[in-house]
Subunit: 465 residues, 2 copies
Amino acid sequence: VIYLDHFFKPNSIAVVGASRQPRKIGHVIFKNLIELGYLGRVYPINPNATTVLGQKAFKLISEIPDEIELAVIATPAPAVPANMEDCAKSNVKAAIVISGGFKETGEDGKKLEEEMLRIARDAGIRVIGPNCMGIYSTTPTHAIDTLFLPRYRLKRPKRGDIAFISQSGAFGAAVLDWAAELGVGISKFVSLGNKADIDEVDILHYLEDDQTSKCIAIYIEGTNRGRELSEALKEITAKKPVIVLKGGMTPEGQSAALSHTGILAGTPQIYEAMIKQTGAIRAETAEELLDFSVALSNQPLPKGERVMVVTNAGGFGVLTADSISKLGLKLAKPNDEIIEQIASNMPQRVTVRNPLDLVGDADPERYRIALEALTKDPNIDSIIVIILVQTPEIDPEIVDVLTNITAYYDKPLLVTTVGGELTQMLTKMFTEGGISTYPTPERTAKAMKALTTYAQHHMRTEAST
Amino acid sequence: VIYLDHFFKPNSIAVVGASRQPRKIGHVIFKNLIELGYLGRVYPINPNATTVLGQKAFKLISEIPDEIELAVIATPAPAVPANMEDCAKSNVKAAIVISGGFKETGEDGKKLEEEMLRIARDAGIRVIGPNCMGIYSTTPTHAIDTLFLPRYRLKRPKRGDIAFISQSGAFGAAVLDWAAELGVGISKFVSLGNKADIDEVDILHYLEDDQTSKCIAIYIEGTNRGRELSEALKEITAKKPVIVLKGGMTPEGQSAALSHTGILAGTPQIYEAMIKQTGAIRAETAEELLDFSVALSNQPLPKGERVMVVTNAGGFGVLTADSISKLGLKLAKPNDEIIEQIASNMPQRVTVRNPLDLVGDADPERYRIALEALTKDPNIDSIIVIILVQTPEIDPEIVDVLTNITAYYDKPLLVTTVGGELTQMLTKMFTEGGISTYPTPERTAKAMKALTTYAQHHMRTEAST
């Protein structure tokens, strides 16, 4: 067994600090584990209670008449070394230390962290944390959720193809919540916290061969293993895309990151060079981290940079052309035969060029005619479809049209739709149908650029092996 | 009376082409006018019906036994010159030509447009359009809505302080719909279309002294009056902010804009220089156009560029510091006394610096203590508050805390909150309370930059007069 399986596929879990009080984090973690689909055995550890949520409580892990594979520790920091001793005595394989109050608080906390780690190392226990949110995994056989926030505060995203590593717990929580709202699915999430033992390099290597994760998104503020991180990224990007958002890319951000994590952020130049050289995709914002992950986890890779734009709103066609050009992509020049074929099936006021403006009264059928022809054009490497629902003829039929086309199209097709309530409804329908949809022309174009950048890296890697 | 009042404050309107069929745009326009709060008299013009929506229909405007101030024309293009003759005969003062099929379709359409315009000019009738959405105005005494889309497709934004001019109708519609969803208010909206007669320069001058509009957002693809536009912007930005999004800022976008509007876009360099020299604020995306308008319409202007950041999530503090620094703003250095005052009222694990991380268990009271002190600090020019609702102690009380503080604070205070459903609820509550709230650290920082840029221009203008 790979040691990280003890975290992601444990057969039994003890929650240390499983309080009876609903607001305590140990209570929420225990409750979520027993309610949110974890299929293994879970035990509450609480010296002051006989039962928690109707389940028999134990004073110590060592009192449980069962093997415990994973301990989730949510007690006050000063108690954690003793908890770890208990884990050691009980042959626990892995521990997630949720508790804060360690290195991030200063010298005393640092000593406590070192003491806890020494005990774990002596016993061969691997540790995630401390000062973290732990793990959220949607693997069907081993769903696991140690996020200490109730679901009304932090919605859980559905099962999906994106793995997500965050050094910051709150950053991770906010992005998960956002993903859930957008209908974006997650395979595995890890909040790393202080990284006393396990860090991003370890998790990256684990995710490298994880079949449930088609791409990896990572938020990082600093690392103590720059060289290993660089090697891991290089190795993994040959197999699947890794999108990196680095916090602390300016002196001001760096200094904030230092005080936040106690880890030196490293110079921005070093990270910038590393991301580029390893073939990872750089996100500059949280929005890009999510946007790029959505495209890279479910779109085919483009073979070139020639983008076709189809729209029912001229203005957004213009802005999309601007974005494509600024990002160094190209507007495709459709084949003459294809142009003629489309033109012969369009009202006269539609002029077939790129951007192709189907004009304001375009209905789903007009999109179908245009897209069916364009998907056959070898001069086109990818398509951006803009659909404004504020026009009179767009109805839900458009979702069928696009899902039918993407079912056979082996190049990327991204959608832009801008607006309010009806737009968001349509976006959710598209997302359900596996079509990556973005709320502005610029975000769509950037996602296409991320696909193209990764595709180029992928082709270079393939050519060199 | 200023001539544009005939459009924005008409006492009577004739809708030419007011069909009985619910899907026809003339029908929707007539219906919206009689249902959406227009207080004047409205008449349907329809040669084939005796009534429309229960109101007596007329064959011609000249048959109406009433003075008609504004005609809204929604007939097929070939009929429009005759409609305009009817307007001329009836002493109509202003006409909005919604109909498409003019210059944007080629030579024949261009001739039709010229014919229509000649008739209007001879009769002294001013024209908005053709090929446009017309006007949406929320002025209490003269609410007017000629948008030809039903409300289930295009939500109408509430009354507010932002005026919005769009060359592209669909762009305008999508942004209005989006604004409605976000709870952002609009004073007046104009869709310019082909600009046969009235263009952005005319509207800008009208909005210059419009008390209901505190800032002006404009989407433009090209103009035939570059010098006048430049002069108008210069004059108006001395009084209120103007945010400009220019479509066609690359050769590709320019060429798309030309085919979209038939107006040469002008070189990007010229526009860039013009925007800068006139003191207008440049938006690079639709998102920025709206984001900047929200801040500039309801925030005080900062006296400098020193930003204080308060957060309950370290990671977002880091990303905010990064953004502030990249944009050329500065992290404020709070006064020592203020630091001490805050520190003495905080748990020990909170270290008072900038970004000020109130840590994950911060409650609204902790925010109140910190913000009440920081608002007194002369070393701080503006504040960004990050509030993650995925943390355990944030409740709706935080809205009261912030609205109480912004009620007396005479510097800008912007909020970042990232996440899903609960986050969006909180955002709506903040927006209702007049607090500009953004969904990512980067967008908040950019809005602060826009405020700062306009404030600097404003100070220069004041100093030179």
